[in-house]
Assembly symmetry: D2
């Protein structure tokens, strides 16, 4: 019951010191620290680590104050000076070749480990070190875009972050209107799907009793959500974002809800790109919600199709046979910017765009043989199924540009998640509701085998 | 101020679920899980990890319920089946020999990593996974004593624990009489130096205002201290444990204290053996105490000499010249079990045993060239100096057996810590107070060079 | 979600300062404080209260250090010097007699209020004032036993405590093995029904998953439970305390329990005697348990009959007709101290003692027309019904002395509570299960009217 | 250390249930509750209170849903039906007249207590009852303005609130940018002195390290601050609000501050009007700040003079001799709305308005013989001294209208507070700095005696 409280004060202390530390950049550094490379060598070479925390703190502080050039130089140094010791590695290879024993194998692994891994681990000794290390990688990702050699450095950051931000260390936390303002302002800042204009809009998303928000936190980054999801509790599967976010709507009682709609999922830390939390997040939120509101039966997303417009444009230019000629004609109407305002045009477009979207989601593949759409890949890879395609579900300018306003519901059914995931990962199948499949114009358009899974109401599509 | 509270509830949830999980061992496992090796292969092979948490939880649960034979088999499996992939490793070596590029180097490192590292990381996905992994290593250490090949497996556990229990992730927490009982019972259980008989004795160590206790915790192990130190606030350097722990003593006001005596440091988790926290603990506790009680000036331990009696016995048998003949004669009196009760005998022993202890601490070395006494190695390695040797400081049976009742004060002076540490690590010097050095019978007994460090009141002993 | 945390730190601060304050008794008081009466007059007379907190703290501190004689003098002073102002009261009575207006009425009420009420309110300004005021009343209750005039002073304390410890200000808190030790030691100390021998026994009562404990706290007395109840989760109504508290028993899973047995309720603060919390406690605990464990259906006590032996002794001496002659004979066997060990004697006693206990509970009344047994009055007054009488349910020496080992189950059925309570309060009825009523030897023994309440499975006994 | 945490969860539960309760107004009330008067009689008459919480909750719920007419009727009912029992009171008066004993006195006090006091106490049994009772009094204050008879009812609310919101029960809490949003929005809403436009402005007031904010909370009203004060840390006494609140300013380091400027104090709960917290607040905040930042030496307000313009207008119309003719002429320039923009006019006004303000503060008195200005009465009554009068310190439209832009610093010097307070309360003295006194045009304008207090750098003004 109360053990956790033991951390209340200390986590607070961590947070406070972290803030103070970051705000004290104005003070002059203690003199005589020497150059950074030497400091880094010191940090990893001293056996007893008598002053590891201070040394690490100093290096991080200097990095925080450095400009872009210095930061590039720092990363170049990590690449060139803090790889493995080549001679030790040669010796380890020799020894391994001579005798394949656990001992020689271990030495080979250790000798092949870039020395910067230990350096990064020791930088983490500093109070609030992890926060600066995440910023460091954010900068590194920018540099890597220019200098691909830095991939080797990034691999080491990624490896350590994957271990430190292991799901086992993350804390799922509900975020509501009584959450700290310094966390909430980050929800505003990081919302990546449906922008939050101001604090009043934030309140409309968090405070009504039919709204929920959950985030993953890391205990050493108490002010910084890692990823969060916004949820609407409803009485049916929502097919339109304005239905959910409209200003004037009347909230329902949480107890009356049957459906939870995950309408926005946002990663917060650019420096943690590629460290995946999303799949754990959704499943754990489903469990939290079910515990709290046992009447909830349906867990579904309302998701964008960020690649749809691009695909459609190319399909319009170079038809692949996915659309009928009539569809093609109707879809030229999309060029009129005011088409959503005209009922007749709208009807014509609806009839043609839904089959197009179904084709895009079910039949198109990227080079790795996975669905073209990144959001589809994410949810299908998590074991969701493609449940519904919604016309004009998001009429915002951005959505019209990206996806002609179409949105999709992916359904998370806990009992099917594992099977769906396996089908997707191992056989490339996109599990979809029959209604979505029926939208397809031409089921022969792709050389795929339809499988009927006995005892399962879902139908599966298999890629070749 | 309040951000930390966001975790209060969730950490609590973690703790509760952990306890529940561990208590649910009675339930039958879900059927059809298959054998453990297959489960482990599944856990690391599935790309999308749709059910990683469940799979990991299941494996850990099965391990928890297994008997000693099964646990040995499990570790043997980790050793034999979850090392690196030999063919991939051969290829990586070839590729690296052909071209020494960051890419081939990275592949070599990755290929040389035993697959069990990723397995252990994924086991940590399970709720409370880290607690079971620590227990797992505890069992592994026992097995390793019998089967040295398991060193390779242990190296992987050690490596990951070193990263996960990085100082940056630990939380220093004061423990007082208002701490949760389930934490306090562990203080009783884990106290390794001066046994705590019952809750009343615990209270005497925690509740008076001139007593303090601090522990490191890991946020995912909220009920389990990792290491703790007990502190007495006094008006002078204590030279006797009964002075500190006597039942009838009158506490002083914390504000009046000038000295903090660290009289007991205990590691709690056998499964984290070798992952060092102690050096960070003492230094951070010094800082906490100074912030809270600015009048404190002296930070000192009252420590046992666990190897002294053994060394003395051998010195008595085979004199090395460390003692005079008169000392030798006096020390034969130690054979009378009641010697502490007789003033005359006591005086004779005192005159001889203090030089012997000084010699033991200052002059004897183990094979690695470091002081023979493990406690001395720990504190001197942390940058403390040997301050005082105390006669009959602990008259308990255990202490008489281990060290003839002698105890030592090691002094932590923040400004000198780094220099002391460096002298010890790099040149093997034992920094000691003059008074201790003067106890030595024969300063020529060892081929060592005495250095006078200018501007420093300490004198240093250098090993050859 | 997090608003509460705002208090975490501050309540802690309160607690810490309180402890510090209480521990600083050794320091000399600031000089020149003057005598207590003058200090009290100052405290209530200063209009602006510029130094109310300091003055109040000083008075309380002086009281805490005073001996019994001084404390008696203090209470005498409150009685004699801090009653209402007699002249103002005369004037108020005159004014009211002349004109019965809201204004004169109000002045009459104010003028009749003893000045010590305001004094006590202002003493509460001091940090931790309420804790000392509760101790003050504890001393007052002792003095009142000797000097009945102090009833007037006690009435004022009672009045204010009733207002300050209003149910609306109390906090129901679960107490488990992770509760702070300084709270748990009070559970040991205050347990009034079934003594807790040591911390191991405490752990057996709190830690197993089929055990619960709840307490009321006041936010200003964070270390001090006001009242607590211990609960066992079982699969049937327990009729024996050893069944519940036996050392070797195997706990059941909380989820499997159908019944919650309240086997011990203890008031903690002698200084709050007469301020009733117990009725609220049980009902709220019932609600908490039902929320947490929806399968729980039956909520029942296992209670002592503290007055039974006394009544039985007088009935044996002067038979009232409640027992048959055979019963009478059997019950003389109680004089053999070893009777519980002999099966035959035990059987004879059981046959006679259960009717006697039923009579004692159902038919005997005190001077106010309520049941003789105080525990019966408490539970029946709360709306419970008398469910079962258990033979040799508590074989401890104390229980044998007080109640010949008999214990009773009172059943709390939420739907019936109000009706039962009303029947008891307004018509003196004791609601009991048929099985208990059937135990009565002679249903004509008392001039009571049996009522059958339509649509209710319970039968009621009405006092005349 | 951790005891407080025990309340974390429960206070949260209180808060959550409170919110839920208040949000469930849509549900139909349980049928058959009967009319409110009967419900109120039930609530205070039932001896055992078996269903007190439910009854109280129901009454409060009905009140919350009622309209203005019903609320007026409710208060009228409290006035007419829930006064003292007149017959019992007559008897009590008779008995007291016959015999003046503690017993008859007590009965007189009890009989004179309006029955609504017990009713209000029992309404507080309901979860979150206190929040509704505070709203109830807010409505009552409006009604009282129309119907003065309700003063009698208000006296009872005031009496109980004074007891329940006793300083001893309040919790001082720092409010910063990590405080819960639902508390912060109330800071925006309740700020009464210098309006907070939006969340960005709020952040500028809370987040910089040279800003602080503190509030009093009651443990049963966790979402609702009672009163709060905003503080700026500076290097000198600020004489201008724009200096403090300007957008572009650079914060100083908290450690460098020597002065704390209390620039805004706002009461939040209209329903607690007249229950004074402000005096305790400032003093306790001074202590908190000194503990946190030992370098702080000066504690000073920057306060408005809300009654100055009104007084000045009447002085201009009917000169009392406080101003010279030249002053009079200069001050007619205030009629030009753009005067602050013209340097020459500004200078002329400054020379005349400062003496006027000094006169207003030092010499004018209301009917009770206290300073005319309410803010002056508050701070001087708390023991502050009038330190400085600042020209054009607040150029906002509102400030120009109220006080011609003048603001005042009141200085809180802990060592002098008691003496200042006493001088003010008992002798009507206004303690002021010499510089302020020197501003007076005509020191003979009022028949006051200047006292030189030996050993004190302050000079005091005494009213006649």
């Amino acid at each position: 019951m109360n053990t956790s409280s033991i951390f209340g004060d200390m986590l607070q202390t961590i947070a406070e010191r972290g803030r103070r530390l970051l705000s004290l950049g104005r003070q002059p550094l203690p003199a005589g620290v020497g150059d950074l490379e030497r400091a880094c060598e010191n940090l990893i070479s001293r056996r007893g680590e008598a002053s590891g925390m201070a040394l690490a703190g100093d290096i991080l502080e200097r990095w925080r104050r450095s400009d872009d050039d210095d930061r590039r130089a720092f990363m170049a140094m990590l690449l060139e000076k803090f790889g493995p010791d080549p001679e030790r590695l040669e010796r380890a290879i020799e020894a391994y070749r001579e005798e394949r024993s656990p001992r020689t194998l271990r030495e080979l692994h250790v000798a092949a480990e870039p020395r910067r891994q230990e350096l990064i681990r020791r930088l983490n000794l500093a109070p609030n070190g992890i926060a600066t290390l995440v910023q460091m990688r954010e900068a590194l990702l920018d540099q890597k875009a220019v200098d691909p050699d830095l991939e080797a450095v990034d691999a080491d950051f990624s490896h350590l972050f994957g271990s430190w931000f292991n799901r086992g260390f993350l804390v799922l936390t509900p975020i509501d209107w009584s959450a700290p303002a310094n966390v909430l302002e980050k929800i505003i800042r990081y919302e990546a799907v449906h922008e939050i204009g101001d604090w009043n809009e934030l309140r409309r998303r968090l405070d009504p009793e039919d709204r929920r928000c959950f985030a993953f936190f890391h205990p050493q980054l108490v002010d910084e959500p890692l990823i969060f999801v916004e949820v609407a509790l409803t009485k049916s599967i929502s097919g339109s974002i304005s239905e959910l976010l409209g200003e004037g709507r009347a909230p329902i009682r949480a107890e009356d809800a049957t459906t939870a709609v995950f309408y926005s999922i946002s990663n917060c830390q650019e420096g943690l790109r590629g460290i995946s939390f999303g799949n754990f997040l959704i499943k754990q939120v489903v469990e939290e919600l079910r515990r709290d509101l046992p009447k909830l039966e349906t867990f579904v997303t309302l998701s964008p199709l960020p690649g749809f417009s691009r695909w459609l444009a190319s399909e319009m230019e170079t038809p692949s046979g996915a659309l009928t000629d009539a569809d093609h004609n109707s879809l030229t109407l999309l060029e009129h910017p005011e088409w959503p305002g005209d009922p007749k045009t709208r009807a014509a477009i609806e009839a043609a765009i839904l089959p197009a979207a179904a084709h895009y989601l079910l039949r198109t593949r990227n080079q790795r043989g996975l669905p073209t759409d990144p959001v589809a890949r994410f949810h299908l890879g998590n074991g969701a199924r493609l449940e519904r395609v919604n016309f004009l579900a998001d009429p915002s300018r951005r959505a019209l540009r990206q996806s002609q306003g179409v949105m999709v519901n992916y359904l998370y059914k806990l009992d099917d998640i594992e099977a769906n995931h396996e089908a997707f990962i191992e056989r490339g199948e996109v599990v979809a509701a029959t209604a979505v499949k029926r939208l397809l114009r031409n089921d022969r358009s792709a050389p795929r085998v339809a499988l009927q899974i006995a005892g399962n109401s879902q139908e599966r599509e298999t890629t070749s």
